[in-house]
């Protein structure tokens, strides 16, 4: 049983939204990163990472449930909110294509916010948990 490359699917999905890519900037390589942004990355940016979940063992076909976290880091509350709101709209209840798999459920759940202070700067962080479910096509 293969492991779907959900990291790839989320990245490909996020970059199809010009609202998001224009907001994070950095084109032609929008500032959307898996797990961690480069140390030299400017703000704002999005990171996303696998939080929990895996193989469901539900039917012979094979199903997967992945819980991911998508988070925006910005230097202002408004910028952070705008990007994470656009990301929510773009992902919630929308198809997350991945070759070889059928995406039958994509739902945003918990949303969170917090702020960090480092080196005399504020870093706004807003994000959400998203559940992505696939079955083998």
């Amino acid at each position: 049983m293969n492991l779907p490359d959900v990291d790839y699917a989320i990245y490909q999905k996020l970059i199809t939204s010009t609202t998001i890519t224009n907001a994070v900037g950095g084109m032609p390589n929008p500032r959307i990163y898996n797990l961690q942004a480069p140390l030299t990355s400017a703000l704002p940016y999005i990171i996303f990472y696998h939080n929990a979940g895996g193989i469901d063992n539900m039917t012979p076909r094979g199903e997967y449930t992945f819980d991911y976290r998508v988070e925006c880091v910005a230097d202002s509350r408004l910028s952070c909110y705008t990007i994470i709101s656009a990301s929510t709209t773009h992902l919630h209840n929308n198809d997350m294509p991945l070759a070889g798999y059928s995406n039958y459920r994509t739902k945003v759940g918990q949303v969170y916010s917090f702020i960090e202070n480092d080196g005399g700067k504020q870093y706004w962080r807003k994000g959400f948990d998203i559940t992505i479910q696939y079955s083998v096509s």
């Binding site: 539900m58 039917t59 012979p60 076909r61 039958y104 459920r105 739902k107 479910q133």
Partner: protein
């Protein structure tokens, strides 16, 4: 099928066919309930109840995840309410020598659940019609 020293097993290799359609691809569980009726034969000076076996019966419940109509029409049609046809199932798969069970069965009930935020599932109840055609314990039936 995973094997182990205690020879326990899961139903990951369960094969189910109904009316010529393989319906196990999205199944979640199958239950088989076999029973036999009895009549009380206690009488006179009996100090303990006795009985005589009469009619035996078998009921089946197949729970599975429903596919969209574009892909799942064959299974929907096969397991529709009132359908009557041959049920074949094989808990250990269909390799040569594995247990085989078969009978004519009628779909006597179909329960569907359409939750807003969960996957759509179906539970189909079937009732054996007539005697077993194949049964590992009763008839030594194998593939």
């Amino acid at each position: 099928m995973a094997t182990n020293a205690t020879n326990r097993y899961t139903a990951e290799t369960l094969y189910i066919s109904y009316r010529g359609v393989v319906v196990d691809v999205d199944f979640r569980s199958m239950s088989v309930t076999e029973s036999v009726d009895t009549v009380d034969s206690s009488a006179g000076i009996s100090r303990a109840r006795t009985h005589i076996q009469t009619l035996n019966n078998a009921e089946f419940t197949i729970e599975y995840l429903e596919q969209l109509t574009t892909a799942g029409s064959a299974i929907r049609a096969a397991l529709r309410l009132g359908a009557d046809g041959t049920l074949i199932y094989a808990p250990e798969g269909t390799a040569v020598g594995k247990p085989r069970y078969s009978c004519i069965a009628t779909v006597t009930g179909v329960d569907r659940s359409y939750p807003y935020d969960e996957i759509v599932s179906v539970s189909a109840n079937l009732l054996r019609n007539g005697n077993w055609i194949a049964h590992y314990e009763l008839l030594n039936s194998v593939f």
